[in-house]
Subunit: 172 residues, 2 copies
Amino acid sequence: MKMSGGVEWALHCCVVLTAARQPVPAARLAELHDVSGSYLAKQLQNLARAGIIHAVQGHAGGYALTRDPAEITVLDVVEAVDGPRPAFQCTEIRQRGPLATPPEQCIRPCAIHRAMTAADEAWRASLRAVTIAGLAQTVTDDNGPQVFAGMREWLLPLREAEPGEGDVGQPA
Amino acid sequence: MKMSGGVEWALHCCVVLTAARQPVPAARLAELHDVSGSYLAKQLQNLARAGIIHAVQGHAGGYALTRDPAEITVLDVVEAVDGPRPAFQCTEIRQRGPLATPPEQCIRPCAIHRAMTAADEAWRASLRAVTIAGLAQTVTDDNGPQVFAGMREWLLPLREAEPGEGDVGQPA
């Protein structure tokens, strides 16, 4: 079982966006992360589609969070990139073979399905308990406030130096 | 993120084996589940490799659980089929780009990695809390004791009628 690698990039982008005072172009986010712009664009499009970030048009255009990072959970981002489906998909094996349980007796999910659902819910509850603001706070706690101060500074100059740059890396 | 479909088959086989009084040939497990023998053999090999079931040779040969089903957890089976690696694999994105955190400052996993690890542990704890015996009990609670009685009966006759049948579907 493997989570899409895009989840990690999407989460890093969200945390970076908490530091930005203005929308950040997709190309700038890619440069900051030293990753291909087209790969990152896909993750940003997933985030935009899920309403976590939005593209601001124009000279000072780019991506910004749509709401307070304290109101965006890690689960929101995981589901934006990897989809909302549980990892376990029940195929109703109990309804197969010579001793099959008749479908009309299969109203309730089977014991295995229920165990998997409980585990999935525990996983989701844990991811729902951490927000983007919480991640940013942990980064500050770990590395000091200069990390986000430096990031904010790095994100700004280009915006001022190149006011005409307006590629927000929008979905095609 | 998707769990291997083999997990579901492996769990069903383990629950069925709690009902058997004798080792059950792989072909018989496949027949009971109405599934390809070669596909099921792969899952049984995974279970055997993990020490959850073992192949008994000879006339009354087949697969049997290696220990009390109360001592086999759902997590044991999930890891036997899907491996023990967490779904999230950190690629140390913080060490990339112009604002990279120096490796020597990355002793502790980053905030995102820690959030993912906590969720993974919550998921594993939930799967570890349910045993094969517990699943079998839930099936009995849901459908009555006749389910396992019927399974036990179905699994027996062939063993007595065909004492020479010894294909245990062992790993190649």
